[in-house]
Amino acid sequence: MKTPVAPKNQLSVLIVGDDPLVAEFSEIAAAAKYAVVPPGSIKNLRPVSGKISIALELSNIDLAQKRKNLEMLDRSLPETTAILSSSVNVSVLDQARWIIRNHRLVGIAALPTLVKNTLVEVSPSAFTSEASVDVARRFFASVNKEIAVVQDRVGMVLPRILCQIINEAMFAVQQDVALPEAVDTAMKLGMNYPSGPIEWGEKIGFTQVCAALDALHADLGEERYRVCPLLKEIAATGKFWGK
């Protein structure tokens, strides 16, 4: 079994997955002079697969599609190519069971807008090789991000904390404790949050937040992670009640 190696000339990065994430990661990779292979090319991967240095799978919402994407990547890419997969809503271990050469699979925390910050969470499964984690570390270093290695658990660290804050803010709005703008103002001015939780939810996408909370609820089986009905409704309709 060959282990993934860090790309020598950092040729190209293949990015597939959910919409805003693909664009955000493509922008960051392109800025660091990677050739970004367009996500549409996954269907005819074979011709380009030889040149691909690293692959990113960034689906959070449609996990059936995520599985198909990972299976395709695993079949098409040489086993020396590492696959970094968003593991906010499904553990890396669960994903490792979907593919054969799972030593090259590394989990990352990918939620829209967060990658614009300076740190990315990375998580190996029990099958992931040291070398694959090292590829992830080098890749993120090449795009000017530091990494933090965390245990393989649904929600990882920041997505779990942040989505729960957004959920709580939504419960407060639903209970008519305050208007959404007042909740945002209170958290920014009273707690020095970089963004109000509701506007933050809007930036990340309420569908993404909802999916992360649903995954935590299913994984941990606790009432605590129950999605606020108002949040569900906004995720489904794209708007607030009465707005």
Partner: protein
């Protein structure tokens, strides 16, 4: 039509001698009474005096008040050194703060803000006394951060004038005031409280009286989830703080912040919100918090917390 009346207070200071009061919904506030010369009380006194209000600062013992005023003066002096404040503004503000050791000396005040211990019985007693002592139009405000405004007002006859004015520490830097409407608080009281808060240069948000109001409630998962993530062995204290700052853009990590606030204080707020929600599991405290408190590791103030100082 609004009536004009002139009230001459008992207080001796010349600056406090004459008040022209416009009665009614937009009654002007000239004089502020503050009960409790601790951190929050003196913080509010400082901001009120700098906003040209006359402040009657009450506490049960004179030493506490004088220490409080000394802290205010020291704080203002720093602002003068940093050229955020002129010497004249400082002297003017300090001359507006009057120590008071009798509650009845606050009877002339247009608004009274309570900032005593977070103890429901003490606060309820205090508001019952104030309600009997002060003029009918005086706003009665509590700076409680975790108790129910409705419960605090429950023994008060004219409870429609009781309102929450939740300031944040340090008061002179934090822009936010949560203006809390208890079940009995009138809309007129809310309006006047918001106008007063804005005169202090604060941004006011309207909140209905519910456990933790907005900020302390919505912030619960910031600590609660971080503690669970630590407890489940997903990441260490240092790593969680680094992630929250680096990936989330927060200015402080949850563990640094708990150390700063005081782990005991943070646990008390968590517990209070949890109990007021009748043990809703979303607000459940974490055993790590209790253990830290039991071990005397309270954060920065005790030299040891999640970090060593």
């Amino acid at each position: 039509m609004k009536r004009l009346s002139i009230i001459v207070p008992q207080a001796l200071e010349v600056s406090e001698f004459f008040y022209i009061l416009i009665e009614g919904p937009s009654a002007m506030i000239y004089s502020v009474g503050i009960v409790g010369a601790g951190t929050m009380g003196t913080g509010i006194a400082r901001v009120a005096a700098l906003s040209k209000f006359n402040v009657a600062l009450y506490d049960i013992n004179e030493t506490v008040i004088h220490n409080g005023i000394a802290r205010i003066a020291a704080g203002m002096k720093k602002s003068v050194e940093r050229q955020q404040l002129s010497q004249e503004e400082m002297s003017d503000a300090l001359s507006r703060i009057h120590p008071r050791t009798k509650l009845s000396d606050l009877s002339h005040c247009d608004v009274i803000i309570e900032a005593v211990l977070e103890d429901l019985r003490i606060k309820k007693d205090l508001f019952r006394h104030l309600d009997a002592d002060v003029k009918a139009e005086t706003l009665l405000a509590t700076n409680t951060s975790s108790l129910s405004v409705t419960a605090i007002a429950s023994g008060v006859k004219r409870s429609e004038r009781v309102v929450g004015l939740h300031f944040f520490n340090p008061v002179h830097l934090m822009k936010l005031v949560e203006v809390v409407q208890g079940a009995q608080t009138s809309d007129e009281t809310m309006q006047r409280a918001i106008e007063f808060g804005e005169k202090l240069g604060k941004t006011c948000v309207r909140v209905k009286d519910t456990p933790g109001f907005i900020a302390n409630r919505v912030a619960r998962p910031f600590y609660g989830e971080a503690l669970r993530i630590l407890g489940e062995g997903i990441a260490s204290v240092e790593e969680i703080d680094r992630i929250v700052k680096g990936e989330g853009g927060f200015s402080m990590g949850p563990f640094e912040l708990m150390d700063l606030i005081g782990i005991d204080v943070n646990l008390a707020v968590t517990q209070s919100v949890y109990e007021q929600f009748f043990n809703d599991p979303r607000y459940r405290p974490h055993p790590i918090q209790r253990q830290m408190v039991d071990a005397g590791k309270l954060g920065k103030k005790s030299g040891k917390g999640f970090y060593n100082y």
